[in-house]
């Protein structure tokens, strides 16, 4: 989950990272009660990158200018997102600008401190200019000094930069972050440092143990579409493609392998979901059964999906209830089909049944499930239960083809 700039700066201020005086503007008229001095800069609070290029950053010297600029920014979508908040901030005379970050490096299984004596880095050629320190053991300020010295800093500037890095690390651990970045960290002519812009990415698995973060996430979920959420909260635990075959599985590797098989068999994979752990959008604890039900709902709601391929093998939690969920979905089709014929609302497509389900079940734990599913009365093609994975994939691909543009 990525925070907005004004939220990042609130956190920075609280933990003691120097930030400029600023004020949150919810409506252009708030600028009449501005508590900071002109000239100011007004910044659109959106998640998308390249906000300045898109016109989301404007300078103002008077209240009238500021209100006009804010009106402009409030009505300017950036990467499809309209800001709910604009940040008004003092201006700062920077002599130098640095880049600082703390990031979790999964290759070494440790947090890494990053620093560069340039801001706005060209990522392609950053290698030589970017310095890093791996936080091998429990953090202690000497790791931050190591970074500042590697960056070539000395004396008091070395100490004030390393003290900012210390606080970034404190935030990183306190809030379970994947990334905290200051870009740029401005250095004044008198060697004072100031975080002019910052980025914070919260690890999605830890959100639920921080009440403040859980609240932020819930707010984002309630206000945005799933694709936007995907962009803001980080990836779903799944893959979003635009083909016709939706995939549900248990475990990333298994879902990926199924996706590959579908593609290799000439099919087009659509949204693929891993049901092994909670979705980002789940605000309360979920069970496997719940996630299957949610996953099926997401795929049914997706208009491009024509076939749903479920791949379960071995043992999954709550086998009986899981089979019940599948049975209910398939039978609901039946009921819905009838009810929709009666209360047709004019949309011809809605009279059609839901996407057919190809369910691959391998392993003796599913013996009872297979028998039970075989007894269900379903519309033809609504449910196919297969044991062999290659066969299941072939069936899904076959079912997807003749039904093109069905929905």
């Amino acid at each position: 989950m990525d925070l907005l700039e004004y939220q990042v700066k609130e956190w920075f201020g609280k933990i003691g990272i120097p930030v400029l005086p600023s004020q949150r503007i919810d409506h252009p008229t708030d600028l009449k009660r501005l508590k900071i001095r002109f000239p100011i800069v007004l910044k659109s609070q959106v998640h998308g990158a390249e906000r300045a290029k898109a016109g989301g950053v404007r300078f103002a010297e008077t209240t009238i200018d500021a209100i006009a600029a804010a009106q402009n920014i409030f009505s300017l979508p950036i990467w499809g997102e309209l800001p709910e908040v604009v940040l008004a901030e003092s201006q700062y005379d920077a002599n130098q600008e640095f880049y600082l970050a703390v990031v979790l490096d999964t290759a070494v299984c440790r947090p890494v401190l990053l620093g560069c004596k340039e801001a706005d880095i060209d990522w392609e050629s950053a290698g030589e200019k970017m310095h890093y320190v791996v936080v091998e053991q429990e953090f202690s300020p000497f790791y931050a000094r190591r970074l500042a010295l590697k960056m070539g800093l000395q004396g008091t500037l070395m100490q004030s930069v390393s003290s900012v890095v210390e606080k970034m690390y404190e935030l990183f651990v306190q809030k379970d972050l994947d990334l905290v970045e200051i870009n740029p960290l401005a250095v004044s002519a008198t060697s004072q440092v100031m975080a002019l812009n910052g980025k914070v990415r919260v690890n999605e698995r830890a959100i639920k143990r921080h009440p403040d973060l859980a609240q932020m996430a819930a707010k984002i979920i309630s206000r945005h579409t799933s694709t936007e959420i995907n962009g803001i909260l980080g990836d779903w635990d799944g893959v979003e493609m635009h083909g016709k075959i939706g995939i549900l599985g248990n475990g990333t590797g298994s879902v990926m392998a199924t996706l590959d098989l579908v593609a290799n068999a000439g099919g087009k994979p659509g949204v693929c979901l891993n049901l092994r752990h909670a979705f980002l959008t789940d605000t309360t604890p979920t069970t496997f059964r719940d996630r299957l039900a949610t996953g099926l709902k997401i795929l049914e709601a997706d208009k491009s999906i024509q076939v749903i391929l479920i791949n379960f093998m071995g043992s999954i939690p709550q086998t009986e209830e899981v089979v019940e969920v599948i049975a209910r979905v398939v039978q609901q089709d039946n009921n819905e089909l009838k009810s929709q014929v009666v209360h047709s609302n004019g949309s011809k497509n809605r009279q059609e049944p839901n996407s057919p389900l190809v369910v691959r079940l391998a392993g003796s734990e599913f013996d009872a499930a297979r028998k039970y599913l075989a007894t269900l009365k379903t519309p033809s093609n609504a449910l196919l239960v297969v044991e062999n994975l290659d066969e299941a994939v072939a069936a899904a691909v076959r079912l997807a083809k003749p039904m093109a543009n069905k929905k």
Binding site: A101, V103, L104, D105, T106, A107, C109, R110, P111, V112, L114, W123, E124, A126, G127, M130, Y132, E136, F172, D176, D178, L179, N203, R205, A206, K208, R209, G234, D235, V239, E240, M241, G249, N250, G251, T252, G253, S254, M256, A257, L259, D260, N264, P269, R276, H277, A278, F288, N311, M313, G314, S315, P317, T319, A362, G363, S364, E365, L389, D390
Partner: protein
């Protein structure tokens, strides 16, 4: 690694990642499962196991424990593992998925200092077919034999075992190191164990996008592994963005390939190391036969 059938095993927690069926399966397989630990439930019995509130109570009653299988809620994994380490358990298998990565960083620092092997999190564990089952791998897909499997996936691990079994190729050891971004034991450690294991004649390496462990494994195989290795990488057709999630967008800074974390990068590394790569799970047996013969 102590994988002897008589070694003593404990289960910590009984959340959704483990079921009575799993426990019964382990017991039926001959795993010496002595007890469960579930705070607040001491004195009860669950799935045929006596349940205790603390690990130290189990040790008091049954003596030193070799391996613990952790299935507590994700936010309690660190505590459970630290409790196990404090009780001198030196092999920890974490089945639970969804553990916050910084908890894992803290755990791994401690585990390294105490020379404790951590497998997982988000791993179905280890099976030595016919001998011992430590985790939730469904034993029915396995038969004893000479192929070692090391994987980052959960279900895909036994998907591949199933293909081998169907093709008449038994397995020596199968381990999933866990599909999370940050896990304890590495491909390298397990390749070495399998290379030294006398029963193992060939190795199947199962990878997926994210991180750089398959690349490191490929280099290690070229340098140090004498036994034949076959690889399978899931997710070739998945959009590449997926992999960034596990690496932080800043990984390139520290001198890494911009392709870092993609299935393509992994395939290239394996090709470079001359490791044959299967197109799909069902192709693995035929590739293996070519290498063994």
């Amino acid at each position: 690694m102590n994988l002897k059938p008589e070694s003593k095993v404990l289960i910590q927690g009984f959340c959704e990642f483990i079921s009575g069926t799993h426990v019964a399966q382990m017991t039926a397989y001959g795993t010496n499962l002595v007890a469960g630990v579930n705070p607040g439930c001491g004195g009860q019995e669950l799935h045929g196991l006596p349940v205790f509130d603390l690990v130290e109570e189990v040790i008091e009653q049954f003596g030193a424990i070799d391996t613990t299988i952790i299935c507590v809620d994700p936010y309690d994994v660190l505590d459970a593992a630290l409790e196990a380490i404090a009780s001198h358990i030196r092999q920890i298998i974490i089945i639970t998925a969804g553990v916050p990565p910084l908890d894992m960083v803290q755990l791994l620092r401690k585990a390294e200092a105490c020379e404790t092997l951590v497998v997982g999190p988000n791993s179905p564990g280890i099976i030595v077919p016919g001998k011992i089952l430590l985790g939730t791998q469904p034993s029915e897909f396995y038969t004893p034999g000479a192929v070692g499997i090391v994987s980052r996936s959960s279900t895909l691990t036994y998907e591949i075992a199933y293909e081998l079994t169907k093709a008449g190729l038994g397995q020596s050891i199968s381990v999933s190191i866990g599909s999370d971004a940050i896990v304890g034991s590495s491909f390298l450690q397990w390749l070495q164990i399998l290379d030294e294991d006398e029963t193992t004649q060939a190795i199947v390496l199962v990878g997926q996008p994210g991180g750089g462990s398959e690349e490191a494994a490929a280099r290690y195989i070229a340098e140090a592994i004498d036994k034949p290795v076959i690889a399978y990488i899931a997710g070739r057709q998945a959009p590449p963005g997926k992999s960034w999630r596990q690496t932080g967008t800043l990984a390139t800074f520290i001198g890494r390939d911009p392709n870092f974390g993609t299935a393509q990068s992994k395939l290239a590394a394996l090709k470079e190391a001359q490791v044959p790569v299967a197109e799909r799970p069902s192709q693995i047996p035929e590739l293996l036969r070519k290498e063994i013969n």
